[in-house]
Symmetry: C2
Subunit: 312 residues, 2 copies
Amino acid sequence: MNEFELIGKLIPTLARNSSLVLGAGDDCAVLDLGIPDKLLLFKTDAVVEQVHFTTGQPADKIGRKALGRALSDIAAMAGDPVACLVTIGLPADFQEDVVLEIYKGINGIATEFNVAVAGGETTTSPRGIFISISLIGTIQRDRLIARAGALAGDAIFVSGELGGALSGKHFDFTPRIHEAKWLASNFQIHSMMDVSDGLAGDLRHILNATGVGAELLGPAIPISRAAKLKTKSESAAKPPLLAALTDGEDFELLFTVAAADAVKVLDGWKKQFPDVKLSCIGKISSQPGLTIRDKEGVRELRVHGYAHLENS
Amino acid sequence: MNEFELIGKLIPTLARNSSLVLGAGDDCAVLDLGIPDKLLLFKTDAVVEQVHFTTGQPADKIGRKALGRALSDIAAMAGDPVACLVTIGLPADFQEDVVLEIYKGINGIATEFNVAVAGGETTTSPRGIFISISLIGTIQRDRLIARAGALAGDAIFVSGELGGALSGKHFDFTPRIHEAKWLASNFQIHSMMDVSDGLAGDLRHILNATGVGAELLGPAIPISRAAKLKTKSESAAKPPLLAALTDGEDFELLFTVAAADAVKVLDGWKKQFPDVKLSCIGKISSQPGLTIRDKEGVRELRVHGYAHLENS
C-alpha cells in the first residue's frame, strides 16, 4: 500500500459533520462556520529534521519555511491567512536559542502576511526537531478556488520558475498569497493548487479531480536558474526540464482558466506583478492522460515523473 | 531557562493582528472571525511515542487520546468542537495497519463529539510515531470562560477523580465537553481550565491570571481508585493525595464560581451528570499563594508538587 492508496482507504472513513464544505484531498479543508460572507480554510503542515531540513541549517529559515509552506496552501485556494499555532518537538538536549530562532523566522513571515501567531506548544521529540504548523484563513464564499474545476480547453498557468528549489529557494520562497487573491478577484479561475511535489505529479491532482487530461508545451515550462546550474555542475543531476517537472518545494501557483481569458491574465499579471514570472505551459484536454509536446513531437508523461525524457 | 521562562520570553515577540482575542497562555487561542454570535477556538496538541505513549500500546487508543486531549482544551473554555486536522509522523518502516488503527480511534471520538476529521497529512519521522492534532471550535461570545477571572471568595471545583491516570484513564478519559457547556449555560463560571499537568501545578495558572491565592481542603480532593491501588501495590508509589495533586493526564475540569452559587452548581450537576463526580475542593483567597488544610492544620503547597506531604 503506497501513501496514496492508504489515503484513499482512509478518506471514506473520516468523521464528517454539517460544517464540512471540502474535506481531505484539497490544499486546505474548507468549513462553513456561519461567517456571513466567508468560508474558513484550515490547514496543517509539518517539517521534520532529516526529511525537510538537515541539522545545522539556520533555525530562523526553518521556521520561516514551516509557516511558508502552510501559507502556500492558503494561497492555493486564494485565501487570506489569519492565524497560526506552532507545535515544536525538541530533543531532550535542545538549546533554547534554537527555539527562539525558529520563532524569529515564523514571526517574520507571519508579520509579512498579517498572520497572528496565536500560540502553540513545545513537546519532547525522541530524535531531531519537528515543527507542525496549523493555519486558518478565510475566503469569500463566491471566490473559493479548489483543485476541481478544470475544463477541456482551459489554459494552464504556472507562476515563477520550477526545479532546483533545494539549492536555496525552499528556504526563501514567497507564498503567492497576493497573486492568488488578485487572480480570484479579477478572473474566473477554474482550478488552482500550489506546486509542492513537482509539476508533473501535482498537475495530476487537478486532472483527476474532473477526469480531464493535459498537454504540456515543453519549451514553455519555466526552468529555474538553480536547476540549470545544477546540471552544469553535477554530472549526475537531472536534465533541467526533468528537474522542473519533478523536483519538489517550488511553492508556486498552478491554475487553469478558459482559453479566452489567457491573454488577459498574462497581460494583467505582468502589470500587477512585474517581478514574478507567469507562464502559460499547456492546455487541458477532454482526453484523460498527461502528455508533453516539444520539437520531437508529443509523448506521454509517466505517472511518477518524467521517465521518457529521462531515457532519451 | 526552563519551559515556562522560554514561553515567557517568546510570548511578547509573537506576531498579532486584529482577529486575536486571546493568544498564547490559555487552553485555546480565541479569534474573532466575524461569526455574528460566536468566537473561534483554535488548539493544537501533539502526542509523541516514548513521551505520551510507549511502543506497543494499542494504536486506536493512541489516536483516541490524541484527539481527546485537544477536545479537553475546548471543554476547558466551554466550547463546541467543530473540526480537526491530523498530522502523523511515521518511521520509514511503519505498518499501514497502525495508521488505520490510529484513525479508527480518532474517528471514534470525533463521531462521539460531532467533530469532522477534515484532513491532515502523514510525514516521515526519524524515530517513533508522533500525532499532532489541530482542532477548531466555537463559543458563544457571551459565554467564553478563560483561566483569568477567579475572585477572592470563589469556590473551587474539580470534576471526576484525580491521580494515577497512567494506569489506564489517560487512554479512556471522556473530555468534559457536555459538562462544560452545561456549566457555561447555567452559571456564572468565573474561571476554568482542564487539569492535564496535575492539580497543584494547573491551579496556579488560574491563580496567577488574577493574582489571587487558594486554600485547598485536603480531605475534599477526589483521589482516584487507581492512585489508591498503586500505593498498595508499589512501595515506591506516591502517597495517593500526592498523586492526585501532581500526576498528570487527568483531563478533568477545574473551575471557580462565586461561593453563593456553589450549592446550586453541586445540586444541578448531580441531577445532570449523576455518573460524574464533582467536588468542591477549596476556595480562592485574596492573599497570593497556595495552601492546603487538613486535620493537622494549614500548610503551604510547594511550586512543583507537594513537597511537604511527601516528606511527612
